[in-house]
Symmetry: D2
């Protein structure tokens, strides 16, 4: 049994880790910490776990976490930075669901998150936890920086096109919409049912923290593509990203737009080939429209590709559950890889429908 | 591996069977039938099952179903009656999720369902599939009549009170509210999002098909209680039942009202003792208010008991998922009992929250 | 033009007053106060009022409010008490939407609201603002205590039965469900979309602040009925009240249960006669089930009466919009009465459907 | 009083006409037809209109409709074509909310709607009912073709940019999302609450009937712009349009993407100037994100413009209520223009919030 510690499990990604690990056959949560809820049974906060999880929240403590094989951070940004160095030193592996180690350029991180980075020396060794891109590196990593929810959907959707080098990198558009659990479990007027339900809006249209993370990922992918060099220089991605808030709890739907530079490419075949062996990426038949409820509560990502009238514009539709493939499920997928388990272990349950 | 057949799996209870059995370690669906969708892959109807369930709908056929160990019926009323006799004769056990064999009095069944009963000779041997009441009989049964969704919640909520004989049977009230999946997956104006969402209403306030089923169950329970005889005659339950339609997909919440005849009874202790060993019934601490999302997608039933100002009125709050503990999950719980498995097998996943 | 002041308009009842008064042909909001949002244009807080309401929130100030003809309080309890005495003294009439002056027994008020009452001397002159009961007194009042949202629905539903003296007062049950706007516009985890949506629960089953208000109202009604004296003593209402939280923004649905003492009464005719001349109470045909969306955003209250199998149990179904007939709309209805206008003035718009 | 006839008022746009006209001070519905519901009181179908609208559905009849001043068609496509010629001949003006007369090129219409056009001779005289574009022509029209819901939002969002000739017409993107009432009030599995709620998807990504209507409108606008001629030839719009289905009843949110050809343009000032005198178009302050609930049930359209990092990509966010400004409200706005009334008459009510 893999012994798991979770730091900061009072939010939705922490609760999602608990939900998924409760039925994982090879892992057991042994430590769960929360400064605010110390001493409280987990099941008091989440009645859905009554009779299933018997743990009590404890004060975060490195000695105690050092007894675990793997520690997950499900904390707001800034927290993992302060504890991860000590935990790694004790030989425990870390899977960080927060934004702390995703961005390689410290200055960019500091400018978007408005604070100095607490452990910049660890950034180079952090492996970006997107298995479809980094499976081998994840297997050997000691520190995983799990991708954000939006970045997962955008990168999985553009990946085959960028690897094939068949779209104009100078004009990529990601029009995304997320369920409200992505905003976390903090009291706020903006998150009230009366404000969110029966409504829809864009937000952060002029700039969002996930933008630099996505651009970094897309540039990394593009750099590996044939023909990535344009006149001897590396082409750089120009991405327009507009997130929207959906009146649903879980789910991200991303609609991607790109211009094909090679009109002869068979985009459907391209996607099917790229993801043929991926356990959690489902390329749907041509003409499909994936619906977020088809992945609700599951670790699957479903993708469909459209090319209206066979023109140069390619549209990619991507759905995932922001708490599962977009956060905690992906973290457990990384854990399975690190521990040499089949990637599907504990993650095979279908979506909850309806 | 237990080989499972499902008749009529195009509706929501059929889909729920598929979702739950997909991760059941001891059972495998081998036959799935639908007259309307014959030849179509199941995953085409339910994209959530893409990559998980590879079956194709086939024409219902007794020879094929006879290869199974257990056949579930997830059909509208009237269908099971016509096929069950042949299937039982082939030595296959049947778990019927429909209303066909729930009511013992054929005349009552025929009057509520408006058609002659097709297999009245089987009614006596059908065991009512409520494990908390009938565990031993279920273990030996060949034909299970699974309770309706409302009846499960009402009976589990009244059970300890009626067994203890401490409430006035002459004035029981069940005020229930169900998610809209209870109405099935048929095209209808009344089920449209624009009609259901952002709204709430009672329906069938003057009479509902589940009323006679509930009354039959409550009478059976009451008949076994100490003091059930009043002046030498069996007391009979008088139940007022008002169902309501909730703008949610899954979940039933039932609010029960009864008058205590013995004001000295400790109702909290009574419920806790009665359900102490039940794997799927959770009696919450005094003062609790169970929420339907705490059981969403799970087989749990959560109950809380209130007695305002310590008076004679006892209020019981019950939540369940109408598709799981209220239908398909309960059916699988019965299957586990029949097959000698632990009741929790394949049913231990926590609710999906949020 | 009636000059209107609104104290505390940053919540949902305040916003509802603004929405309704924006199209009232005889009234104009001239002062709107908020301590927290002083100096901010109203339309910045409520974009729905952009281009429609040009006012700016100001510091609450008696001199300024004294320029108005009528001042509404849309404040949390405790605020109106501290300002109303001064305002009344300046000859301005007050319509209080809060709970401050609803309960006649000061000790009861203080025990439920946990603070000393700030203006107990005004309680006797406060008129309970339920037009269907108190129309004449409202016309002459200087201080209106508008009923709570739940109390409006419960009292309108029981009114004809209690006036006719045909039900057992010792066992009345009100099973109510409210949209989440009833909880106001404060940041809270309990009100988040992720916590409320796709779920349902009871709350305060052992006691709610609206209970004493409803009981007071029902006792007042019952006291006027023929046969209200039982063996020379006044019968007293015994009410069980269980509120529930609906995953909708607006709307209350109340299901009432009572036992007829006179089985010969024609309850349908009773209700139709009682409300024949009421502009905002609609008694639906026998067998109906009113839906909350049929009154969404409107001042109507719809009622249907059921008597299953013609027995002694009478079921009354009542719907209203908790922000309109349950709060601000009713306040404006009172204002119309006070000002000698037709009661429907500015309140005739149909519900928003779908 | 303007006498109004409505043909086909059993759907949501018909119900919306009734809701709005119920409080219109200068118009009265006198005839309302439905083949399917003939003889039924309107209020039986729409309980929200009980006590407000007393009409009974009648068989469509030209003689009866000829008594009206204006006849609205709220019918599926194909119906208006068959009746409009006779009605116009009787001197009655027609406002058609359906798609019958929107597209000028008959062949295009016939190919998208899959049937021969029934009255092609009337197409040239039909005026496209977008007041912000065609106010003068509407005033003199006898036949109004009201724009579709998506086209209204896309055209109002692109209008200032195209009139100014400052964007690349060769790559316009409209990413739209609509509430489910846009799909009408027909029984369908796809429209069930259990299928739509708590989910989101794109649809018709490879082609939608509103695409040719939008392109026609944008080309008309572009043709009038300075610099519309490129090398002596008219530039033609190339539009990618992807509609999505929102789990809400009402509301459209459109996110537009375009590339500025003139980076020096002040887009905020451009939009503010263009719509300064429009009663129903609200250009929000720079940096805003309009929310659909800010226009729910109202005739307003709110727009915000973004230009991330001051680059060449301009993003326009547009919200409207698909049943009001996107259909019936716009129809009444046209009616007001035709009848010489202020455009806001009967349409000034703010949105329903929350």
């Amino acid at each position: 049994m893999i012994k798991i510690g979770i730091v900061g499990a009072t939010g939705y990604t922490g609760a999602e880790l608990l939900r998924l690990l409760a039925v994982h056959p090879q892992a057991q949560v042994t430590v769960i910490t929360s400064r605010g809820e110390q001493g409280k049974p987990v099941a008091d906060l989440y009645p859905s776990l009554r009779g299933i999880i018997d743990l009590v929240f404890s004060e975060p403590d490195v000695d105690q976490l050092a007894q675990c094989d793997i520690v997950f951070f499900a904390t707001p940004h800034g927290v993992a930075q302060s504890m991860v160095p000590d935990i790694l030193q004790r030989g425990v592996k870390v899977i960080d669901l927060s934004a702390d180690f995703r961005i390689k350029d410290v200055a960019v991180w500091e400018s978007w998150y408005g604070q100095p980075h607490g452990a910049p020396e660890l950034i180079p060794q952090a492996v970006y936890g997107l298995p479809e891109l980094n499976r081998d590196a994840i297997a050997k990593a000691t520190l995983i920086a799990c991708p954000g929810c939006y970045p997962t959907s955008v990168q999985l959707g553009f990946l085959p096109l960028l690897e094939a080098g068949c779209v104009d990198l100078g004009d990529l558009i990601a029009n995304s919409a997320s369920g409200v659990s992505g905003a976390g479990r903090q009291a706020s007027i903006g998150g009230l049912h009366s404000e969110v339900s029966d409504s829809f809006k864009a937000y952060a249209a002029s700039g969002h923290r996930h933008h630099p993370e996505i651009v970094q990922g897309l540039n990394d992918i593009a750099a590996l593509a044939d023909g990535a060099l344009v006149n001897g220089a590396q082409a750089s991605v120009n991405l327009t990203f507009v997130p929207h808030l959906l009146p649903i709890n879980r789910g991200i739907h991303t609609t991607l737009y790109a211009n094909l530079t090679d009109p002869g490419v068979d985009v459907q075949a391209l996607f099917e080939a790229r993801y043929a062996n991926e356990p959690f990426v489902d390329v749907m038949p041509s003409g499909s429209h994936p619906q977020t409820n088809s992945v609700r509560g599951s670790n699957y990502c479903r993708i469909a590709v459209h090319r209206p009238n066979g023109g140069a514009k390619v549209i990619v539709l991507v759905v995932e559950d922001n708490l599962t493939k977009g956060a905690s499920g992906q973290g457990i997928q990384c854990m399975n890889i690190i521990c040499g388990l089949a990637e599907e272990t504990g993650l095979a349950a279908p979506a909850l429908l309806p």
